[in-house]
């Protein structure tokens, strides 16, 4: 199918973009890399009045480190994250995760801001920013506001962004010495959306700062707070891991779809957690596991 009719404007500045949003309200959609929006249009899942293309706003892209924080412009492409030495050094979880996003052609066009604003529950980056305690900066008519990643994802394709706001950048605390991460996903095909995935981060060598985020499980990316608490209490021993896996039952709301049943997803969440713990705490959890590709 082809997209329904829509108007299109390519804006030169954020102010112009905000003006377009103000004029069209819910009828406007921001076009960033177009890797989710354009297929959704072609499948006629969306029928916006106007697309506001922000690809021409130069100062929306780029990666910068200052005061222990990495700032990533919303229009930064996945491929740029993949190739960035700053990301590799200061946000290695992100560097690992972007490799799993679709295929090179998709990574060349898709953007981090687009992925977060689209909030597909099976996408990698929303879960990563949850684990990373990122701050998401939005610009609206009354200026900028900062939203904690944990407050950002509200539901299926639903975020805290207002219809008059644009996601402009993501701020992530740079990795401290001793920081560890784990990232795993299971998909039916190479490069496909995850049927279950985990992104986990520990700011130090213990479990006290552990944050565990899931994607591809429920209707939005989710933090497994109960599982993390169980690990804080029991450590990453076998007992801790078992308690954490049990806690997932209350943390997650797995859903059934064509790729997997809810019951399988809940099981996979536990498997992925144990694998993540082995990456994060190899001594406590008995070393890394063998993998199939």
């Amino acid at each position: 199918m082809k997209a329904p009719d829509f108007d299109y404007v390519r804006v030169r500045s954020l102010d112009e973009a905000l003006a377009a949003l103000a004029a069209h309200g819910e009828g406007a959609r921001i076009l960033a890399g177009g890797q989710s929006l354009v297929p959704a249009l072609n499948l006629r899942l969306l029928a916006p009045e106007i697309l506001v293309d922000i690809g021409g706003i130069a100062d929306l892209s780029g990666i910068a480190l200052a005061d222990g924080t990495i700032r990533i412009g919303a229009m930064t492409r996945h491929a740029d994250l993949e190739r960035s030495p700053e990301i590799a050094r200061h946000v290695p979880l992100l560097a690992r995760a972007v490799r799993e996003i679709g295929h090179p052609a998709i990574r060349n066009r898709g953007t981090i801001g687009g992925s977060l604003a689209h909030a597909d529950p099976a996408s990698e980056l929303p879960a990563c920013v949850l684990a990373l305690e990122a701050r998401i900066v939005a610009r609206g008519p009354s200026g900028e506001r900062t939203i904690a990643a944990s407050d950002f994802f509200r539901g299926l394709y639903e975020t805290a962004l207002g219809p008059d706001e644009i996601l402009v950048r993501i701020e992530i605390p740079a990795a401290a010495a001793g920081e560890r991460f784990a990232f795993h996903e299971l998909a039916r095909r190479h490069g496909d959306y995850a049927m279950a995935g985990i992104a986990a981060l520990a700011r130090d060598t213990g479990a006290a700062t552990l944050r565990i985020a899931y994607f591809g499980i429920g209707s939005r990316p989710m933090l497994a707070a109960g599982a993390a608490a169980a690990l804080r209490d029991h450590g990453a021993s076998e007992a801790g891991a078992a308690a954490a896996v049990r806690a997932l039952g209350a943390d997650l709301e797995p859903q059934s779809d064509l790729q997997a049943s809810a019951a399988l997803r809940m099981h996979l969440a536990g498997v992925l957690l144990r694998r993540a713990l082995k990456d994060l705490f190899p001594d406590a959890a008995g070393g890394r596991e063998e993998e199939i590709a």
Binding site: S261, E289, E290, E291
Partner: protein, 761 residues
């Protein structure tokens, strides 16, 4: 046997059309725009089975730019009996009072702008009185829900005549075979095994979706269509219109993939009717999503029972095969019969009974798809073979080899097997898998296994091919055939065959594409038949041309063997560069139709398609995810006339069947397709091809084939699925009976086997 002396046969001549294709200049129907042409967009049923109470087209008709909205009532004005189909005249050009599957065409909007037509489709509404529906083939066998009130077989297949007028059934065709005394065989056997296996509904996904253009004017009709069977289209359209064949012209340029989908008659009846109604050329081009409602592969439930002696000899086998044909028969009855007669597998079994049923259901129609039913039957009989070998504690290759049909022995129909390199193919796969070496199976979470399977298929018969070789006055050559170049390389191979006879270079021959005003009859580009059937016709036509050259030389008084160049002969005959030499030939292989009661035939197939496959897998027992680390396909293609083209045929069919094995399935909820787009219906990508992917042919010869050749397009679809299913069993000890082989099914089966079943789906 490789003929190293030939500059054509056995050579990997590059595709004649390669440059045209890679430079984007190749001609496809999608590119075609005729002056005054209208585009048709289809309004489809949203319910699987219903009486149509009303269709409101007024809002669509009122939209600016809409030329006309057409329903079956309008079509009747042009075609009084608007029902078509190759086996049954059961499919209305547009829904006629009833709809029989969700997605069935109900009305068409015509407009000069396809986008306006599409928008207008959204303004049409229909009121339905919903009827109970039946979707499962086994249920449909005995259901009170009837998809059709009365059976309407086409006259083209004389063996379906007895079905005419039959009522109160969903069974469109039943095929039976009886050999020996199976009951006595089972009674005497040491062991009896019975299993049921299922194949799912899948679709062809040609990258070029269905497209047809009709241009009817002044009592003549030209169809430009993406069809695998232009000759059949002409015959069927002429029948629908009551016109002689010579008023219907069917042209087919290149095809962007067919795989059996674009066979017989598809959009052609609709565009013809629309063009007659509108008195303008009309084009209908489906979207990728609409293709799911055109034609698909039969789901199949197959119960197979074998009596086996302690030494591994299979002494009796019964097969009950039920084919889900969907709402319209298409070529399903042929699939039922052709795949039916080989459904006991390529084994030498004394007592065999086969019952094969084509059944109507309220799903999109099912037809031919690369293998013509053989992949569904092999999925069952080759998993069954492994289960028996496992129970007997026999090596799985040895068990097969012990029972394999040898050349010179009768197949279940009684046809003596000839030129079927079954054992060679099986052995070559075993060799590539290092079958006799131990495998590192792993002892932890990751387990490895390997599996093997072999199968065969009969070829649709009897079918005819006609070829014309036209030698022009300068000695150059045109080859006129209705074989459709759809990516398989037929232009190149046919040119190679003609060139071999005429002592020319294949690349110098112009292959004229199907145009029924110009190119002669061919039954269709289907079922691995072109190399054997058309290849033979081309060889004979080229020989006929040579004979005529010799006659001309004699007529000119030249001594035998004077070998004067052809242009010189023409000049001597006509006094200038003028004239033609036209060689023609037709070919129809020997065939005896099966006996209606016993299914016996002394000539059931022109040749045997043979494929064996092997797979190595590793399975993550914690998740059910698996990876095929090695996939081997070996086919018997006779002499490989063009080894490179054989190679791509084998690998292409293998990748296609890999998708049908691992990820592809049309999923329904209450008769509604839930994954009818490539976003949700997952076909393999290049990155999903196993790291070791070996495709080979055995060293063999089809003695009555052109230069020893035979078909290659389907061979690797046959045994691939069971090879993978058997490898999974070998790795983790659970047997999956239903395709596709998903991680969830594997994990659930593992949980079941461990006594800790996973909660419901």
């Amino acid at each position: 046997m490789a003929r190293t002396a030939s500059r054509n046969i056995g050579q990997s001549i590059p595709r004649l059309e390669a440059r045209e294709k890679v430079t984007g200049r190749a001609e496809y129907v999608h590119h075609l725009r005729l002056p005054g042409m209208l585009y048709g967009k289809i309004f489809r049923s949203t319910v699987p089975h219903a009486r149509i109470k009303s269709v409101d087209v007024s809002a669509a008709q009122a939209l600016e730019g809409v030329y006309r909205v057409v329903t079956i009532d309008d079509i009747r004005e042009a075609i009084p009996h608007p029902y078509y189909g190759p086996a049954f005249h059961d499919q209305p050009i547009l829904a006629d009072g009833k709809v029989r599957f969700a997605g069935e065409p109900v009305a068409v909007v015509l407009a000069a702008d396809p986008h306006i037509a599409q928008e207008a489709v959204g303004l049409i509404s229909a009121e339905y009185e919903e009827l109970p529906a039946v979707f499962d083939e086994v249920e449909a066998m005995s259901s009170d829900v009837l998809v059709h009130d009365v059976l309407k077989p086409a006259a083209t297949f004389p063996d379906l005549k007895h079905l005419a007028g039959r009522t109160g059934t969903n069974v469109a065709l039943d095929y039976h075979l009886l050999r020996g005394d199976p009951e006595a065989g089972f009674a005497a056997a040491d062991h009896v095994f019975e299993h049921t296996y299922r194949s799912q509904q899948v679709m062809h996904i040609p990258m070029e979706p269905f497209v047809s253009v009709a241009d009817a004017a002044d009592g003549r009709l030209t169809l430009h269509t993406a069809s695998q069977s232009p000759s059949f289209v002409r015959i069927e359209i002429a029948r629908l219109l009551g016109w002689p064949e010579n008023r219907v012209r069917v042209k087919v340029p290149y095809l962007g993939g067919g795989f059996g989908g674009k066979l017989y008659i598809k959009l052609e009846a609709l565009v013809t009717a629309l063009s007659l109604v509108a008195r303008r050329p009309v084009k209908v081009a489906l979207t990728m999503e609409e293709q799911f409602f055109m034609v698909t592969r039969h789901p199949c439930t197959f119960t197979i029972k074998s009596g086996v002696n302690k030494d591994g000899t299979i002494v009796a086998r019964t097969c009950k095969v039920v084919w889900n044909g969907g709402a319209y028969a298409d070529i399903g009855p042929r699939v039922t019969q052709k795949a039916g007669f080989t459904s006991a597998g390529p084994y030498d079994i004394e007592n065999v009974e086969i019952h094969s049923y084509a059944v109507y259901t309220n799903r999109p129609p099912c037809g031919a798809l690369r293998g013509f039913g053989a992949p569904q039957t092999a999925w069952a009989y080759e998993c069954h073979m492994d289960e028996i070998a496992e129970a007997l504690g026999m090596d799985k290759v040895a068990f097969r080899r012990k029972n394999l049909l040898q050349n010179g022995r009768p197949q279940a129909t009684g046809t003596i097997v000839q030129d079927a390199a079954l054992e060679q193919a099986l052995d070559q796969v075993a060799d590539r898998l290092n079958w006799n070496e131990p495998l590192d199976r792993g002892d932890g979470r990751i387990r490895r296994g390997r599996g093997i399977a072999v199968g065969f298929k009969g070829i649709t018969a009897p079918t005819t091919s006609v070829a014309i070789v036209n030698l022009y006055a300068d000695g150059s050559c045109g080859l006129y055939i209705s074989t459709v170049e759809m990516g398989q390389g037929s232009d190149t191979v046919m040119a190679q065959i003609a060139a071999e006879v005429l002592d020319m270079d294949a690349a110098a021959i112009k292959v004229v594409h199907p145009d029924t005003d110009v190119t002669p009859y061919d039954m269709g580009t289907l079922g691995s038949r072109s190399t054997f059937h058309m290849g033979t016709a081309v060889r004979l036509a080229a020989e006929d041309a040579r004979k005529k050259i010799a006659e001309l030389a004699r007529e000119l008084g030249l001594p035998e063997g004077s070998n004067l160049p052809l242009p010189e002969l023409f000049r001597r005959k006509y006094g200038m560069q003028a004239g033609n030499i036209i060689g023609t030939a037709s070919f129809i292989p020997k065939y005896e139709k099966p006996d209606a009661e016993t299914g016996h035939s002394r000539n059931a197939t022109p040749f045997w398609g043979v494929g064996a496959s092997g797979a190595e897998v590793e399975v993550d027992t914690e998740t059910g995810h698996y990876r095929i680390t090695k996939l081997v396909n070996v086919a018997d293609v006779g002499t490989a006339l063009n080894p490179k083209l054989v190679q791509v045929q084998l690998s292409g069919a293998g990748i296609m069947q890999l998708g049908f094995t691992t990820t592809e399935e049309m999923v329904y909820r209450d008769g509604q397709l839930t994954n009818g787009s490539l976003a949700d219906y997952k076909i393999p990508t290049l990155l999903d091809i196993p790291p070791e992917f070996i495709n080979e042919h055995v060293d063999s010869e089809q003695k009555d084939g052109p230069f020893g050749g035979k078909g290659a397009g389907e061979s690797t679809t046959i045994a691939l699925s069971p090879a993978i299913g058997n490898a999974l069993f070998d790795a983790v000890g659970v047997r999956l009976t239903d395709l596709p082989l998903t991680p969830e099914k594997i994990f659930r089966a593992l949980c079941e086997a461990n006594g800790t079943p996973l909660a419901g789906e």
